[in-house]
Amino acid sequence: MANIAAQRIKREFKEVIKSEEVAKCAIKVELVSDSYTELKGEIAGPPDTPYEGGNFVLEIKVPETYPFNPPKVRFLTKIWHPNISSVTGAICLDILKDQWAAAMTLRTVLLSLQALLSAAEPDDPQDAVVAKQYKDAPDMFRLTARYWTAAYAGGPYSNPDFDSKIRRLTDMGIESHDARVALSSFNWDLERATEQLFS
C-alpha cells in the first residue's frame, strides 16, 4: 500500500478514536489488517429512526490512491433502507463516488452514513424495492426497517406478527433470511411472498 494512504489512514484512525462521537458511542472504527488497507466501521442507528438501538457494521476498504479516491464502503450488517442494497450492503452515496474530496476523512464518511440513516433520499434510491415501499407504504417501511434492525443489528423492538409469518415460511423449509426478504418485499403479504418463494 502506498505510504501516503497508510500514513493518512493512521492519522484518521486516531482522529476517529479521539472524536466526540466515539465518546458518545455513535461511531467506531477498528483495524482489520495491519497494513491499514481494511478497516471495520460501526455506526449506531440514530435516535427517532427505525434504526435506533441498532449497531451497523461497515466494511471499509482503503484504495492505494487514498485520499484522492474515496474508500470503498459497504454495510456488512443487513439493513432495510432505500439508499442501501438489502442484498449486498452496497451504498451509492455521492461522497463515496464522484463527490468525494481529498479533505474528507473516515470520520466524515461515518457521520455522513449516519446522516443517511436519519434522512433517506428516496428520489435517488439504491434499492428499488425498498424505495418503492418507502414512498407507497411509509408505515409498512418503518415497521420493516425496525424489524430488520432488531433481527440483524441488535435493535430492541420485536414484532410478534412478523415473527409468526416468518415462522410459517421457515416451517416450510425456507431459510429465515430468505423468508424475511420475501415478506419485506411484499409488504408482509404472506400469500404473495410464498408464491414468489416457490415459483
Binding site: N69, S85, T88, G89, A90
Partner: protein, 472 residues
C-alpha cells in the same frame, strides 16, 4: 565492512568539503553591459563590493567610477553591497550605466546610500502578511522570509529548480532598468503593467520623458549558468516553501516544499502527494480539458474555481508520467475535436477522421481498421450488437491522423490488464470507467462526457435497469 566504512568516509569528505570549496574559490564570470552598446566579460571575486566593481569596470568603459551606476535585476546596487549577496550566477548580466546630466546635478549629494539592496534581499515572501513579517525576528527567520521561487527549467535541467526573479523594461526589454517598488504579489509579476520603473536605454528615455515605463518580470533557473538573455524558465507559482508550516492535505505531514492550490482556502499538498494526486486523476482520465488553460486539475478538496492555470506544474511528474499526461491530453483534444481513439488494446492512438466516414484506419499507430460506430474490426453491413443506419454505403476515405499526437508512450501492459477487469468503456465516449461499489449505475468519469449508463446493458441508464439489476 571496512569497505563500507571507507566509502562512507569518502562520502562525508565530499559532502563536507566539496560544496563549500566550490563557493570559496570560484570566481564569477559575468557580463557587463553598458548603455552605449559595449559588453565586457569580466572575472570578479564574489567578495568584492560594488564600489570595487565600479573601479574595475569604469576605466574599461572610459568612465570614472563615480559616473557609473550598476543595475542588476531592477535595482541600482549601493556601493557597499557585496557581490555574493546578489544572487548572481555564472554568465549573469550586470548593467553599467553612465549617470545622466540630470542625475549629475545631484552628484555631490550622492552618497553610499544611493541605490539599494538587490531585489533578492529586499523581496519578502508573498505568503506573509505585514503582521507575519513583524514577527520574524531571528536571523534564521529572516532567511526564511526571503521570497523563494521555483521554475520549470526546460533546458538543460529539464526539471523543477529554484528560480531567480529578473526584471527588464516592458517596452524595449533592456535590463538597464530600475523598479520604483518591489512587486508585492504574484499578480504584480505575472501580469503586465503592474510595476513602474525607469529605463536607462536611450531610446526609451526619449519616448517616456516622464520616466514611467513599466517593468516586465521573468524568471531564470538558478541551477545552471546563464545562457544569455533569452535563457528563461517558466515560474511554477504554486510551488512554495512552506514557511507557515501547513500540513499536507493528503499525508498530513509538514514538508518544506508544497503546492498551494489556487482556491480560496489555498489548500496545500506536499509535492510527493501532488504527484500521486495527478497520477490518480490521470489514470482515471479525470483531468479537465479547459479551452484556455489546457489539460489540468482542480484542488483535490473539490473547491470551486480552483483549476491550475500554469500547466507546467505537471512537469512535477516523472518524464514517463508526463508523457502519459501529454498523451491523454492529446486524446482528450482529439475527442473534443470530434475524433476517435483507436480501440485496439495497447494502442489508443487519436485519429481525426471526417464525420461521415465509418471505416477508420489507425494509420500512424497499429494500422487497425475499425468501424466508427461499434469500434469492432471494420465490417460491411450492420454492426452486430447495435442498431445503426446502414442505408448509405460506407465511403472509403482518406484519414487525417492527428498531427499533434507526438507522444508514443503507452500504458504498461500490467496496468492495462487490471484495468480491463474492473473497468468497461463508457458506451458514449469509450473512456474506461471503473466500477466502484456495488451498484450498476455508472457515470462516465470523463468530466466532459458524464454519461449515465448501465454496467450490465452498456447502454444509457434507464428505469428498467434500476428495477431489474440495480445491484446485479
Amino acid at each position: 565492512m571496512l569497505l563500507d566504512y571507507s566509502l562512507c568516509l569518502i562520502q562525508v569528505i565530499f559532502e563536507v568539503f566539496l560544496p563549500s570549496k566550490i563557493k570559496m574559490s570560484t570566481s564569477l564570470n559575468v557580463f557587463i553591459k553598458s548603455n552605449t552598446g559595449n559588453t565586457l566579460s569580466i572575472e570578479l571575486d564574489p567578495k568584492w563590493d560594488v564600489r570595487r566593481l565600479k573601479e574595475n569596470v569604469a576605466p574599461k568603459l572610459g568612465l570614472s567610477p563615480v559616473d557609473v551606476k550598476i543595475i542588476f535585476s531592477g535595482k541600482e546596487l549601493m556601493d557597499s553591497i557585496v557581490i555574493e549577496e546578489c544572487d548572481l550566477g555564472q554568465q549573469s548580466i550586470l548593467h553599467a550605466v553612465k549617470i545622466r546630466h540630470v542625475d549629475k546635478q545631484h552628484l555631490r549629494d550622492r552618497t553610499d546610500s544611493e541605490g539599494s539592496r538587490p531585489m533578492n534581499e529586499t523581496l519578502v515572501d508573498w505568503q506573509l502578511s505585514a503582521i507575519d513579517r513583524k514577527h520574524l525576528n531571528t536571523e534564521e527567520d529572516r532567511e526564511r522570509e526571503k521570497a523563494q521561487f521555483f521554475v520549470y527549467c526546460s533546458s538543460p535541467c529539464k526539471t523543477m529548480k529554484p528560480g531567480k526573479l529578473r526584471v527588464r523594461c516592458a517596452s524595449c526589454r533592456s535590463g538597464a532598468f530600475t523598479v520604483k517598488c518591489d512587486p508585492e504579489c504574484w499578480d504584480d509579476v505575472l501580469h503586465m503593467n503592474k510595476i513602474r520603473g525607469t529605463c536607462e536605454n536611450a531610446i526609451c528615455v526619449e519616448s517616456h520623458k516622464d520616466g514611467s515605463q513599466f517593468a516586465e518580470f521573468f524568471f531564470k533557473c538558478a541551477e545552471h549558468p546563464s545562457q544569455g538573455e533569452n535563457d528563461q524558465a517558466v515560474p511554477l507559482d504554486l510551488v512554495k516553501s512552506n514557511i507557515k508550516d501547513v500540513p499536507c492535505l493528503a499525508c498530513t505531514e509538514v514538508k518544506n516544499l508544497v503546492l498551494v492550490f489556487p482556491c480560496k482556502e489555498g489548500h496545500v499538498t506536499c509535492l510527493e502527494c501532488f504527484q500521486i494526486y495527478c497520477l490518480t486523476r490521470l489514470r482515471d482520465r479525470q483531468f479537465s480539458s479547459h479551452p484556455e488553460l489546457g489539460y489540468t486539475l482542480p484542488c483535490p478538496a473539490g473547491c470551486a474555481d480552483s483549476l491550475i492555470k500554469e500547466i507546467h506544474h505537471f512537469h512535477l511528474l516523472t518524464d514517463e508520467q508526463y508523457a502519459m499526461y501529454q498523451r491523454f491530453g492529446t486524446e482528450e483534444y482529439v475527442l473534443q475535436a470530434g475524433g476517435v481513439l483507436c480501440p485496439q488494446p495497447g494502442c489508443g492512438m487519436g485519429i481525426l477522421a471526417p464525420e461521415d466516414c465509418r471505416r477508420i484506419q489507425c494509420l500512424s499507430g497499429c494500422e487497425f481498421v475499425f468501424c466508427r460506430v461499434c469500434r469492432q474490426g471494420y465490417h460491411l453491413g450492420e454492426c452486430s450488437d447495435q442498431d445503426m443506419d446502414t442505408s448509405e454505403e460506407p465511403v472509403n476515405c482518406q484519414y487525417k491522423v492527428d498531427p499533434v499526437h507526438a507522444n508514443q508512450a503507452r500504458w504498461d501492459e500490467a496496468n492495462k490488464i487490471t484495468i480491463r477487469i474492473t473497468t468497461k468503456p463508457c458506451p458514449k465516449c469509450r473512456t474506461p470507467t471503473e466500477r466502484s461499489g456495488g451498484c450498476m449505475h455508472m457515470v462516465c468519469s470523463r468530466p466532459q462526457c458524464g454519461f449515465h449508463w448501465c454496467w450490465i446493458c452498456q447502454t444509457e441508464w434507464t428505469r428498467d435497469c434500476m428495477g431489474n439489476h440495480w445491484f446485479g
